[in-house]
Symmetry: C2
Subunit: 178 residues, 2 copies
Amino acid sequence: MNENLQTEKVQKNEDPTREDLKKVDPRMQDLEKVDPKDEDLLNLNFRHNVNGEDLVIAVAQDYETSEVLMVAFMNKEAIIKTLETGKAHYWSTSRGKPWFKGESSGHIQEVKEIFTDCDKDAVLLKVKQTGAACHEGYYSCFFREISHDNSNDVNIKEYKLKIVKDKVFEPEKVYGEK
Amino acid sequence: MNENLQTEKVQKNEDPTREDLKKVDPRMQDLEKVDPKDEDLLNLNFRHNVNGEDLVIAVAQDYETSEVLMVAFMNKEAIIKTLETGKAHYWSTSRGKPWFKGESSGHIQEVKEIFTDCDKDAVLLKVKQTGAACHEGYYSCFFREISHDNSNDVNIKEYKLKIVKDKVFEPEKVYGEK
């Protein structure tokens, strides 16, 4: 991101807090143990605050084709887990808990390289994607193009979402029937 | 973002469900139907709130080489301006105002294609970048690799930031002396 920023705390949502989650998920208690390492964490700027969690934006990109696969968030623990295991770990802002990508589907991301941007509030993961990145069955989550049929018409109302990729798998076969 | 799941099987695991997302953003409940006032905005989910501004994450990628150039945010106005002008417009979270990329430097981004992801809270811009994307003089903002010298050592403390790209321009010549 082309901006040098200080952390901006924005707390607007109603998700359970980390303190709430500790009560119901013992694994959360272990996450505090990594705190002593935080100062060594590459001076990353976890300025994106979602429900009390300090995060960097993470972009996953196919290491061979350079196709952008998905965008997510990582907290400090996710960065550490990713570096230690070589497999992409994120922070799920919806569930308020760590997210080992592919844990349920088997569609893990083997991390080949990691980069950070100029103001260190985003990371770029170059990954070897098993299966597909998107739970909807597409290799990349960016399977919808914002486009219009009339190349001469730039009226915003003419734009539509159009699926421009083919599915790699059927979600119900991986995640079970709805 | 691969966080829009709704199967029972997945609910046991790390991947978030649609119900989870509704907790984060009540507007998710309306995701399936187009909100009349959002009709012009492709039902994008501006769920990232920074200082009162509702935003989607935007990733800019070189349309020819597929190099990821930068990550930023866009509000509704930025989406509209980008579609109407064909040049990337963002929302500057640091300045709290619209940001026409390249307005001061001349390093504009001509948008060739735009995609959105499965839960529509992020967009991917394929752009023709004039000059360089990064204000520090690099073509991509992701010019630092997170790496270590010892391939056998996965200790987090061994990781360092290393500049792995060459500058395209000297910032003081474009933006003036500091």
